[in-house]
Every structure is written in C-alpha cells, then in structure tokens.
C-alpha cells in the first residue's frame, strides 16, 4: 500500500512558539439535523465525546466532535479508522436524511504550542478574532479566516492551539504561521 502522509509531512518551525503539521488526522463531515436523537447518538459513538454545543468542540481520548454550523459537525477520529466509523454512522442513521463524508485528505491540521499568551498573540495577527484568554477559552471552536483563507481554530489546552484548514492551502497557512511566530515579532499586547 502507498505510504500515506499529510500535506506537509510533519513539518515544524520553531519561532517564539512552535508550529507543526499534526500529521494524518481522520476527519468526518457529518451533516444533518443536529437535534435529532439518532444523529446525536451516532456522533457520540463515533467521535467518542459528547455532542458539542453551538460554537464549541468536545474532545475525547482519541477524537472529538466540533460544531461547524447549525447542520454540520466535524468528527475527529483516528486516521486509520475513518472507513470503519463511516459505516458505523451509516448503520446508526439508517434511512434518516444525513451526509457523512471522509474529508481527512481534504484538510490538514496544525498545532501551535508554547506560552499561552504568545500562542494567542501569534494567531491574533492572522485572524479577525478576539483571542484573549477571557474571550476564547479551551472548548470553544471558531471558524474564521486566516489571512486570505478559511480556517477553524480551537484551544486544545492552555498554550496549545489547533488549526484546521484546507489541504490545498497547507503550505500557505504554514508559511503564515511561521512568519507570525518568527523570533522578535512578538507584539506584547496579550503577552506582557
């Protein structure tokens, strides 16, 4: 079998915080009526985490589920288990109207880690989002743009941000993050 790699094959850059390609991450787009009991049950079973509230992400041991829009979830699963989880969803949903697609290879995921305030500051350079620790807390999930391309963001933990973007713009996003975290470019607005 061919050797599967993520868009940037684990590239990393160390500035005042560290940026790295998180490697292969299984992702399933699940669309349907998010209030339907069947869909909630399927999302919980497949993502291994609770159903996220609006604008939030819930994380489990091996995956999670993020609230993308009023009718869409992004379910995170281990890369090698995507096909199995997809058939689980199909079985659980039966004939109910829904859409579940493997988007693992259409997206890529980056991690930005380091001092919490500096991580927030680096991202705030690129996104029109209030990233102060008070306004954007772990568990919140925000879709916005990063410079000129769409990107979704959440804080995995304090000082640990995750970004999901389209694979086709992976190099662009990596270069943006690398530039925004280059040593000496700290803004010192959030970080004192």
């Amino acid at each position: 079998m061919s050797n599967m790699v993520s868009a940037l094959n684990g590239a990393s850059a160390k500035g005042f915080v560290e940026v790295r390609d998180m490697g292969l991450q299984g992702m399933i787009t699940l669309r349907g009526d998010l209030n339907a009991a069947k869909l909630k049950k399927a999302a919980r079973a497949v993502g291994g985490a609770d159903m996220p509230e609006q604008g939030h992400i819930s994380l489990g041991d091996t995956g999670g589920a993020a609230w993308m829009s009023p009718d869409e979830l992004l379910v995170l699963v281990p890369y090698t288990e995507v096909d199995a989880r997809l058939s689980e969803i199909a079985k659980a949903m039966g004939d109910d109207h829904h859409l579940a697609v493997n988007v693992s290879d259409a997206r890529c995921m980056f991690g930005v880690s380091g001092d919490d305030a500096l991580v927030r500051e680096a991202l705030a350079k690129l996104m029109p989002v209030d990233l102060s620790a008070r306004a954007f807390q772990p568990g919140q999930f925000r879709r916005s743009r990063m410079a000129q391309v769409p990107a979704a963001l959440w804080m995995q933990a304090e000082g640990e941000a995750r970004i999901v973007c389209f694979r086709s713009v992976a190099q662009y996003v990596f270069d943006l993050l690398k530039g925004a975290t280059s040593p000496g470019s700290e803004v010192r607005y959030l970080a004192r």
């Binding site: 829009s69 009023p70 029109p128 989002v129 879709r143 916005s144 743009r145």
Partner: protein
C-alpha cells in the same frame, strides 16, 4: 468596518469574515411577468442614504445566508435576522425606529 452577528451560528465577527449579497427581500418576477417587471427585478436596486436591508453570507464561518439591517451613513448595524423571512421582524423595525424615526425602505416602514 461593520461588526455583524450571524443569527445562524451566533458568531460576532467583522466585515471581512462575511460577504455582502445585495438587496434583501427581492420579489422574483420570472416566467409570465412583463419585460418591465423582469427588468426591474434584475436591475432596479435601491441605493438609499440611511436605512438599508441587505443579504449577507457568513462565508468564512458557518456558510449560511442571513439578513442585516444597517445604516449606510453611520455604518451602524441595527440587527441581523434569519434568511427565512419575507419582511424584517418587529424587533429589527423597533431598533431602526429608535434611531431613525419615520424611516422607510421600499414597502417597509
């Protein structure tokens, strides 16, 4: 810079996260209508000074369409409301009236 709140996902973001979609509450004139009506449907858009009702899309977010009432002079957003309406809801009208008594926009006032 406009600050809009998407009624679909609840996110408050600035203008560049959204995309304007032109005039709101258009009434379609298709097959069976006169050429004049079809022309007006396609081309005759209002360009008011003051209160304006528009369609917007949260294109760098949830991707949904919604309506916004704003002021083209002060750049104030009076409010946003769902796309699944054929006229501005009462709370939006009240918000506009509070700032601009006696306003009108097309057939709404």
């Amino acid at each position: 810079m406009l600050i809009l709140t998407c009624p679909c996902c609840g996110v408050t973001g600035e203008e560049t996260e959204f995309h304007g979609g032109g005039e709101a509450h258009l009434k379609r004139f298709g097959p069976g209508s006169s050429e004049g009506e079809f022309h007006d449907y396609l081309f005759s858009k209002v360009n008011p000074k003051g209160v304006h009702l528009e369609r917007w899309r949260h294109n760098n977010g949830c991707g949904k369409w919604f309506h916004a009432a704003r002021d083209t002079v002060t750049m104030e957003i009076y409010g946003t409301y769902p796309a699944q309406t054929t006229e501005p809801p009462q709370d939006i009208r009240d918000a506009i009236t509070a700032k601009r008594p006696g306003w009108s926009w097309r057939e709404f006032a």
